[in-house]
Amino acid sequence: SQTIHQWPATLVQPVGSPLSLECTVEGTSNPNLYWYRQAAGRGLQLLFYSVGIGQISSEVPQNLSASRPQDRQFILSSKKLLLSDSGFYLCAWNSATYEQYFGPGTRLTVT
């Protein structure tokens, strides 16, 4: 069966520091991968999606970037964090189905 992992689970970083969040999927090949951010009371906002290695589409221009160095690995990065980057970051995947399956999330607090 397929599983999706995210790490770290929680992260506290100072403003201006870099960021790297990792997402990996097991048990499937060539998945579509997604990064969402969830802010309190605002639902989920799609940040990036990827249909294959090196293929990244950005939904919202911002202080973040994404990369897909391997088929089942999706990385969210920032060179300099802002206070507004705080939130709960969720990775998701799908393949031959229309629903998406979510990872456990990373809670990021920028201080």
Binding site: G41, N94, A96, Y101, F102
Partner: protein, 116 residues
């Protein structure tokens, strides 16, 4: 772009009472519809989905939802809730039919709190 409206941000109910969480979407084309549940500090878990066919869909944990095309609604219901149903519920829409590259558009969520 799609928009999804969850009409209630918070729904408090007593245990064993029925509940309905409302969801409306804006779309002039056919859509796929989903309900997800999120427990504190966890990811989202798929409750149920509507892709085609019967407008009444049943999901996990005793939940069901009815797709109403004329009213562009997809309300979630459960006839008798348990304290363990306390969680946040998200309605989502995917209108990229024909492609599994499904960009989901989410509502802002409804916090369901079940009291003993």
């Amino acid at each position: 772009a799609q928009s999804v409206t969850q009409l209630d941000s918070q729904v408090p109910v007593f245990e064993e009472a029925p509940v309905e969480l409302r969801c409306n979407y804006s779309s002039s084309v056919s859509v796929y519809l989903f309900w997800y549940v999120q427990y504190p500090n966890q990811g989202l878990q798929l409750l149920l989905k509507y892709l085609s066919g019967s407008t009444l869909v049943k999901g996990i944990n005793g939940f069901e939802a009815e797709f109403n095309k004329s009213q562009t609604s997809f309300h979630l219901r459960k006839p008798s809730v348990h304290i363990s149903d306390t969680a946040e519920y998200f309605c989502a829409v995917n209108s990229d039919r024909g492609s599994t590259l499904g960009r989901l558009y989410f509502g802002r969520g409804t916090q369901l709190t079940v009291w003993p």
